[in-house]
């Protein structure tokens, strides 16, 4: 058990180190540097030199990498070029807002997906399953920027039930943000739930046809008991890693959904930072996204390990 645990954590660490290296050197390969990109057309030589000196861009790349990675490890994310403020401060509020949105999405989306997935899986090819699966496939194929825009069109412009675009600021109280998160969260839930429920459905169908369920049925175990004690525990285990992966996908999803709904989170900040050509900020957000992705997956892995004894021993 301990070795498996250490192995997973070790792998996650290695992945994170690779992310750090890739994020730094990928931006290094781009034409120009943070200063020339940020100052753009109006850059005079003296302005450029002053900026490069301020950011230490006149140093060799490897040396800068060491300094940057070191700062990052100690929690110093650097200074945003465009905003001229510490990145930790710029990112902090947005991270909170994105967590609110992602939390709301997960809190509603995951139980909803599990429930619908089980329902569909227990009655495969029935009218209920056809409806649920049909909607799920639709949700999976329509990109977020379209479903988000349609949501606004329907609920805000046509029906007038909810404000379409989030107009409160990034420092707004958490409760206000939660209220403003309804449409963006609905858009994310729509897609997130679709992915998870498709997996759960397949898993339930598979377990229902397994030998031990057949056996239980032949022995006359009541249907209710078969479902609750034999099918669900076995069918929902694989869902954990899928939930982990889907939550990680959510990070990519928020980039688009936040932009469509003007939600003041990390995803919109990422888009803004790219548009503003604020390279230090882009680097920091890329790293954050990478780390959250790895950590979410690690969490799902560890949870699966705890719940599923079969995973704990290595097969030779």
């Amino acid at each position: 058990m301990a070795t498996v645990l250490l192995e997973r954590i070790g792998l996650a660490l290695i992945t994170m180190i690779i992310i750090v290296v890739v994020v730094f050197f990928a931006l290094e390969l781009m034409p120009g540097d943070a200063c020339s990109v940020n100052l753009g057309r109006g850059a005079s030589d003296s302005m450029l030199a002053a900026c490069q000196k301020r950011l230490g861009l006149d140093q060799p790349a490897v040396w800068r990498f060491a300094a940057w990675a070191g700062d990052f490890l100690t929690g110093d994310l650097g200074i945003s070029m465009q905003r001229d403020r510490p990145i930790a401060e710029v990112v902090g509020w947005r991270l909170r807002n994105t967590l609110i949105l992602a939390g709301l999405t997960a809190a509603i989306g995951i139980p909803l997906a599990l429930g619908l997935g089980v329902l569909a899986g227990l009655n495969p090819d029935g009218p209920l399953d056809m409806t649920i699966s049909g909607i799920a496939i639709f949700a999976m194929t329509v990109p977020e920027f379209i479903s988000g825009t349609l949501m606004i069109l329907l609920f805000s412009v046509i029906l007038g039930w909810a404000a379409g675009v989030v107009t409160i600021g990034y420092k707004a109280p958490a409760l206000d943000l939660l209220k403003a998160s309804v449409l963006p969260a609905a858009t994310l839930i729509f897609i997130l739930a679709a992915h998870i429920l498709r997996m759960v459905r397949a898993s339930v169908i598979e377990v229902m046809q397994s030998d031990f369920v057949q056996m239980a049925r032949l022995k006359g175990v009541p249907h209710r008991r078969i479902i609750l004690h034999h099918v669900l525990p076995n069918a929902l285990l694989p869902a954990i890693s899928i939930i982990g992966l889907t939550m990680a996908w959510l990070l990519g999803g928020v980039v688009i959904v936040e932009s469509v709904f003007n939600f003041p989170g990390l995803g919109r900040l990422a888009v803004d930072a790219v548009a503003d050509q604020d390279l230090p900020l882009v680097q920091a957000i890329a790293l954050l996204f990478g780390f959250i992705y790895v950590l979410t997956n690690l969490g799902a892995d560890l949870l699966a390990l705890t719940l599923n004894p079969r995973l704990r021993t290595r097969r030779k």
Partner: protein, 493 residues
């Protein structure tokens, strides 16, 4: 600790919100979007490179503004007069104007504002326009004398620059005190900025009680906010326009603006050092067709390679229909009877920049001009391509004198086509020293004719700006934002 913080965070805005909500019924509020083009570093310093123009326009006044024909009109300066050599300008100022903090506007504020432009520590882009101001003398509280380092008859036109806004003497960061129709209430470019009516505004009490700016960086999200009635005033792109067509809840306006795309051909690189070839490359273009394709019929004005906008009193009105035969003849003359190969670079920096080059490529093919089109990476385009290659370029409006000097005078830093013509430079010098506005106009027009005949930059048209407003908004004519008299703008209930 965290809990306490949150309780506070919830409580204060809630109180504020309730206060605003109870007052809202009586107030007329215009809600606008801030596109965050400076990513949160928007500055209330009007001459900063990151000036928050939309807000500065409301809280500050200029000395001189433009009338509907683009001519200088009185704002904080009542009258202006030059000495015979146009090296000294004397301005008499509007009496009885007070700043938002209650202090009185006088010549010392003019001196402070104008001399500040040259402060090297600020690195203000306005130096390019008004760097020629040597000093300002306070003659008496309502008279200021501006001394120039070189003669300039067009100083009033330069003072119309949208960034030259009067600050109170000694103003410092974060700024925000002006003499304009609206006063700053709260300022946060990344979320909400609120401006209240200045009831002591010297031209009359504003009709609106408040103007609010909400940060919405994404163009599509701004559009959705407009459609959903969350904002009342917004810029509009061509492809968004049909969404509002025939909807009586909205007013859509298309107004002359001065921005353009162009292709800067390098006049110093053979074979383009031959002006005949440069002219052939430009007259082979069907400008009206290109305008219709790129911007939609009637949404701009054809330009015969003049960078000057339609509302500028010094714009040359030339005629330049597509001339395939003429282009072929010029090429043959220059030794290319079988046509010529030209490489043009562009980048996907702004929507339309790639298409502009593509339309060009198609249109001139008939004249035997074979364009090899290269789409360069957007990053580093201005470092690696611009000023070095034949490249698609993009400019925003500026006054004629500034444009012609900045982009075409021999050796100017942003002379992107490396155009060098002594006669052209002389005309600009003469125009600057000519106080008679009609005579000056003749000189500027001649300079633009030289550009059409020998220049290296293709400018097919100037595209209109577009905006959409709630149909309840009153007092905004189909003109550039610069012209809007904000204290006259209202909202029907």
């Amino acid at each position: 600790m965290k809990f306490k913080l949150h309780a506070k965070l919830v409580a204060t805005p809630l109180v504020v919100f309730m206060t605003i909500a109870s007052a809202a019924q009586a107030d007329t509020v215009l809600r606008r979007a801030n596109d965050l083009s400076f990513g949160g570093s928007e500055s209330l310093d009007p001459i900063s490179a990151n000036r928050f123009y939309e807000v500065n326009d409301l809280i500050y006044s200029r000395l001189i503004r433009q009338d509907e024909n683009g001519r200088p009109a009185s704002e904080l300066a009542q009258t202006w007069k030059a000495n015979e050599t146009a090296t000294e300008w004397t301005l008499t100022l509007q009496p009885g104007v007070i700043f938002h903090d209650g202090s009185t506007f006088d010549a010392a504020d003019v001196k402070f504002t104008l001399e500040r432009i040259k402060d090297p520590a600020l690195e203000s882009p306005v130096t390019d326009v008004l760097g020629l101001i040597e000093a300002v003398d306070v003659v008496d509280p309502l008279t200021a004398r501006i001394r120039l380092s070189t003669p300039h008859a067009g100083l009033p036109l330069l003072l119309m620059d949208y960034r030259v806004r009067i600050l109170p003497e000694g103003a410092a960061a974060p700024f925000g005190i002006g003499t304009g129709p609206f006063m700053l209430d709260s300022y946060d470019p990344e979320s909400t900025t609120i401006l209240n009516a200045n009831t002591a505004y010297w031209e009359g009490i504003p009709k609106l009680d408040r103007i609010e700016f909400t940060a919405i960086p994404n163009s599509e999200a701004r559009n959705q906010a407009m459609l959903g009635g969350q904002i009342d005033y917004n810029g509009l792109t061509r492809d968004q326009e049909p969404l509002y067509a025939g909807n009586s809840a909205f007013t859509v306006q298309s107004y002359p603006a001065g921005g353009w795309f162009g292709i800067a051909f390098q006049c110093n690189q053979p074979p383009l050092d031959d002006p005949r070839i440069r002219k052939a490359l430009r007259i082979a273009v069907d400008r009206a067709d290109m305008l219709a394709l790129m911007s939609g019929e009637g949404n701009g004005i054809v330009s015969c390679d003049t960078p000057v906008k339609a509302s500028d009193p010094f714009r040359a009105t030339l005629d330049c229909p597509q001339d395939i035969a003429g282009a072929k003849a010029l090429l043959a003359d220059a030794g290319y009877p079988d046509g010529i190969d030209i490489e043009v670079f562009t980048a996907d920096l702004e929507p339309g920049m790639v298409q502009y080059a593509e339309v060009y490529q198609q249109q001139v093919a008939e004249a035997g001009i074979r364009v090899k089109l290269t789409v360069a990476p957007s990053d580093g385009y201005f470092d690696d391509v611009w000023l070095k290659k034949n490249a698609v370029t993009s400019w925003s409006q500026r006054p004629a004198d500034q444009f012609l000097n900045e982009a075409y005078r021999s050796g100017a830093a942003w002379n992107e086509s490396h155009f060098a013509n002594a006669a052209f430079d002389t005309l600009l010098d003469q125009a600057r020293a000519t106080l008679d506005i009609e005579k000056a106009r003749t000189l500027y027009v001649q300079a633009q004719e030289i550009l059409f005949n020998e220049g290296g930059t293709l400018i097919a048209y100037q595209e209109n700006g577009r905006r959409v407003m709630s149909a309840r908004v009153t007092g905004i004519a189909a003109q550039d934002e610069d012209y809007i008299r904000w204290h006259m703008v209202g909202m029907e209930q």
